[in-house]
Subunit: 245 residues, 2 copies
DNA sequence: CGACGCTTTGACCCGTTTCAACAATGGTGG
DNA sequence: CCACCATTGTTGAAACGGGTCAAAGCGTCG
């Protein structure tokens, strides 16, 4: 289990394109990971916390969010296996958002010190992780576009395209199907819509035969049409293959 | 002029809290900067570009934005003097958004190679710049909240609070007044609202005596009330003083 | 079987958009 | 110094996307 967690990390870092040197790989495998099984809807880190470790998603599904004084919850991103959602806590002491599971998950914790040592001794790994964090930032920018400039139908389409490509990149899709434990309420919190309206839009997507989505499994029936509806442009995910083009 | 640009950079980096060592400061001052005066509404970098240099705002005002196929423009962030808005192009080859001036500006260009050398030789500077980029990401997250969860009145209030604190951090405010060359159309593109509605909301803010805003100068009359209206929480800007608390 | 969480539905309402003018402002050239 | 033009800001009326509220269906799991 611990081995598989570390392997996921190595694979993730190599997905950038550059294979790791033996010394680098070894340094990664020596990282002191602590695994934890977490059930759904458990906060991993809370807003205002000052973490001393960061966490990697080994299995499951996380999201980060902020709560507003008026009770609104805004989801800021979804995190799939291989990602290290709060790596930024290495540099920004105080969490400005919370991190929670939205499905039963396996999380690996890594002490900050260990990561800091890693970064100083292996600048190439530092560069790869730096790049990862910038991709997260690129996704955030696209989410601004999503909530700011697209209508409900396009927003939800876009979210589904993003999830599909992110999951595909880590090998968690079968064809155009993927496990999608996100509830419509969570889609609503992520897109700035009401659950009612999300529901109606999802039904519209189903009616147009763009997707099927029930009991935690989402199948994209017409990816091209879904991307068109979403005005989706893959570039922002900065996937290795796309970058090479 | 070139000296003042470099000084602004040094000051910005030291604003993090840690004063730079003489060797570090010297390395910065040796950076090969190219200055350029640019009038308003000129693209500095375009979506799809693969820049070989990055740029620092010395004077003026920039914004980054994306265009959608349907003609909508979404502004993603505003950039004030001292910031290096496209530093990320060091790590993400292809620009996923554009960068443009919204006021006459002075820009300093720095070749990627020079920055790369700097990062490898001075890990502390790398850490500071890394942190800067993460703060940009934190601001993007807050913009997701803004467009996703706040109504028009709060969105505009929030934008003004953000600008005020960012400008204050680099010493570009006088009291609670600051130079604000942003048009209402740009506010609309940044907040995902129509210009008409922005106009009405700004008038409401004026009517409630929270702000004055005319001819490029914005004065906040009641900062506390403006922050309340915006549900503003300073934490996300990760200013040095706030981090120390 | 019953309870709980998630999805679905209908009816009504409101914030925001759209369209279409018009007024103010500021910069430019004669 | 004024006439002109292009931006930017302002206004009103009508329409619409999406929100709210409230209740009912449905799966699933102890």
């Amino acid at each position: 289990m611990l081995r598989s967690a570390l392997n996921r990390l190595v694979r993730k870092l190599e997905a950038e394109g550059t294979p790791l040197a033996p010394a680098e790989k070894e340094a990664l495998l020596r990282l002191p990971l602590t695994l934890r099984e977490v059930r759904a809807d458990q906060d991993i880190v809370r807003q205002g916390d000052r973490p001393t470790q960061c966490c990697m998603v080994v299995e499951g599904f996380l999201c980060s969010y902020k709560m507003l004084p008026d009770g609104e919850r805004q989801i800021l991103s979804f995190h799939v296996p291989g990602e290290i959602p709060d790596l930024q806590s290495l540099f920004l002491e105080k969490m400005d958002h919370a991190l929670t599971t939205i499905a039963p998950s396996t999380i690996a914790f890594i002490p900050h010190e260990a990561v800091n040592v890693l970064l100083e001794q292996h600048f190439r790994i530092a560069r790869i992780l730096w790049r990862e964090m910038l991709i997260d930032a690129a996704i955030s920018r696209e989410w601004i576009v999503n909530t700011g400039s697209r209508d409900a139908y396009a927003r939800i389409s876009h979210l589904l395209c993003e999830l599909f490509y992110k999951l595909q990149a880590v090998g968690l899709t079968k064809g155009t199907s993927f496990n999608c434990p996100i509830t419509q309420t969570e889609v609503a919190d992520a897109t700035g819509l009401s659950t009612v309206h999300v529901n109606r839009s999802v039904q519209e997507l189903r009616g147009n035969r763009l997707i099927e989505w029930e009991r935690g499994t989402c199948t994209i029936l017409d990816l091209q049409a879904l991307e068109d509806a979403a005005m989706f442009d893959l570039d922002y995910l900065h996937l290795a293959s796309a970058g090479a083009a």
